[in-house]
Subunit: 126 residues, 2 copies
Amino acid sequence: MWYTLYQMVKRAPAGLDSSFNALADATRRGVLEQVGRSDASITDLANRFQMTLAGMMKHVGVLEQAGLVTTEKVGRVRTCKLGLHRLEEEAAWLKRHRLLWEARFGELDRIVEALKQKENINGSKK
Amino acid sequence: MWYTLYQMVKRAPAGLDSSFNALADATRRGVLEQVGRSDASITDLANRFQMTLAGMMKHVGVLEQAGLVTTEKVGRVRTCKLGLHRLEEEAAWLKRHRLLWEARFGELDRIVEALKQKENINGSKK
């Protein structure tokens, strides 16, 4: 079974790595929220997030590699739009983890409850 | 409004940075899935994921800092358990993003549909 788990990890799409990495930065999440509302030029984004153009291009590059945004250059302006990656797999992963989490902590709650009741019974017997 | 957005980014909890960063690695996600099923020693985890003890300790350290696991040393064995952080905020962030995404792409779909219909009408007039 452990070997299967190891294989699962190795076969796991690199997509999750790059998308979670792209989300691990407050500015990049802010850019995604902004671009989710309306397209924006890199210059606009740099101004809005009080960042150098080079710094913003780096962040946008990380988002673009993860498929979360696309960019298009028309004349001298590079515009940033929402990408096709809708974070479905990532949402599914989190959901699975949260179900595991609830199952484990629910189990612990039941054990603690059972111990408490046992203690109450023993206490009332004395 | 842009200033507010900038402030939002700056005030955003660092928690999302560290948890998304923790999830941006297939081995760390594998460890979380494993520990979600049952507690495991760092040595066990290192063996299961065919990794050195030092490498696994580094990964577990990243997960621990994000609150996703806790570790406890009893004698010479350090055991890794599921942490209290249940990724609620992260799931909420993804959900918000996906709603924005659907709203934007839904809008585009409607525009394309309207253009197609217009073209059909113009086409039939000729």
